[in-house]
């Protein structure tokens, strides 16, 4: 592999990375905003979960490129938004099950105790159940973030920005080092975001540290 392309294009790499960050992270935020209420509804009214879960998985099965094309052709044009909305929909297949699992694993005695001391249903959700579900939810956010960063490179082929453009350009002009740079940056970005999320979770939930080995 020849590396001479790289030194002259560090600016482009930086721009692409920054763009990619926006491209990949906003969908996770959006996905979370949608998943939280959906997950809460699924737990409260059990019968809604199969359809919700089914739709989320169905969305995930749609080839990403098709959705990007659809959005950019018919809805929001050739802008980053056309990538963000499909990516957000893809995160649902991870985030909704994790919100549901997170809420379900709240120990029953804790839920009973919360009701019995006088928490109303909404207060119990906000002050007890969701906080306890945070570790599982963040685990889902981590997966969704990494997947979003990876999937987001497809958007680059459509000219929607991000590190994917490096792949398209590298392929069209036959510059393997550019493609390689794109791969490495994608992986690095995913790794850094994952580590940050782990730190955020540890900071948010000091109580979950030794859970696995703790006294019953």
């Amino acid at each position: 592999m020849e590396w001479q392309w790289l030194p002259g294009h560090l600016d482009d790499l930086a721009t692409a990375t920054a763009q990619h960050l926006q491209l990949a992270l906003l969908p996770v935020v959006l996905g979370l905003i949608i998943s939280l209420p959906l997950g809460i509804v699924s737990v409260r009214w059990r019968w809604t979960y199969p359809p919700i879960f089914g739709i989320a998985n169905l969305l995930y099965a749609i080839p990403s490129i098709a959705l990007f094309v659809f959005m950019s052709q018919y809805v929001t044009g050739l802008s980053v938004v056309s990538a963000i909305i499909p990516l957000a929909l893809f995160t649902l297949s991870v985030l909704v099950p994790n919100v549901v699992d997170g809420l379900k694993q709240v120990p029953d005695p804790v839920r009973q105790a919360a009701t019995a001391v006088g928490f109303g249903t909404l207060r119990r959700l906000m002050q007890v159940e969701l906080p306890i579900a945070v570790p599982v939810i963040v685990a889902g956010i981590r997966v969704a973030t990494v997947a979003s960063i990876s999937l987001g490179s497809v958007a680059g082929i459509m000219g929607l920005g991000g590190l994917g453009e490096l792949f398209q350009d590298g392929q069209q002009r036959d510059i393997p080092s550019e493609v390689f740079a794109g791969i490495v940056l994608t992986i690095l970005l995913a790794f850094v975001c994952d580590v940050i999320l782990v730190l955020v979770q540890r900071a948010l939930t000091p109580w979950s540290r030794a859970r696995k080995g703790a006294a019953a």
Partner: protein, 400 residues
Amino acid sequence: MREDHLITFDHVTKRYADGTVALDDFTLECPTGEITVFVGTSGGGKTTALRTINRMVDPTSGRVLIDGQDIKEKSPAELRRGIGYVIQQVGLFPHRTIRDNIATVPYLLGWDKAKARTTAMELMQRVGLPASMAKRYPFQLSGGQQQRVGVARALAADPPVMLMDEPFSAVDPVVRAELQQEFLRLQSELHKTIVFVTHDVDEAIRLGDHIAVFRTGGELVQHATPADLLANPADDFVASFIGRDRGIRLLSFHTADDIALHDSAVVPASATRTDARAALAGVDGEPWLLIVDDARRPVGWLSAESADAVPESGTLGDAGLLPIGNTFQVGVDPLRSALDSSVLSPSGRAVGVDADGAVLGVATQADLAAAIRAVAAGDLHPHALDRAGEPDEPEPAGGA
């Protein structure tokens, strides 16, 4: 006038969709300021009954009243904030510190944060937890410590009523005994109206002022004081539920007030062999002497042979003495302790002491037998059987 927090169950029935009857026309009163224990076999309805009080379960028919007011008149959340609730698995909030766990209800009630925290710290002390634990999390505490926090949380807003569902069942027996002791101490200070569920009849007898026995099918079989329950179980089910040795356990409820005590066999350690022989002459039955020190506290038992082995010039304190075993405090300790003392002493006599531990006298097994007979006559068999085996009209209680 002290407020009344009487809990009234008025023909409460709970039937589930699949036909199971958890409670069957249950009517009962739980007196203010006292501990009523619900005990019985599983499926008997004791937990269901408890949970109707704070509306965790709603009856199919019938009413539950607290202090004459139907609990349905308040919203469930409001009702529950005024009732303390302690469960077996504790249910502490893992994401909150111990202090914040305890202050849960005060926070919910909108108390000033500082006041809530101070109250939490006071309660920690009250339930025997060191203040250093305030900022820790539940996962860092042992089972027994967690349950203390659970009790503190229930007490935080000073509710007049406490509901406890097998709170001490998940810990080992040593810790359980400690918790029971602490619980009784707390109640003696606080006088809350408590309903306590357990499947352990010994715990019921130890803690309850009143006991309600449930049978599978949600049926109330007997409602009595512990002594009465032991003395007169309503039927075979209750008798077998109480288990073996209920006669001996009944002895725990009677103090040996007027048990006969003899002090002729009590001799100081400074006495000589001659004194011993003189004392022994006045002893009926087995020839043993109880040797005491200058403060009249018991030192050991001296047999006649050992007394003879004492040299002429020596004191009885130098002789080979056999250990006391146990003593009982006259008028305070139950008859069961006196029996225990008698069994453990080599002479077969119980050693009765006063509050300072000084010997008041010695009771022979004949004396004990007489005391036991008095208990039996007073408590047991209020109904004589006629020839056909049917109980008669109850006779007035009296000594034999």
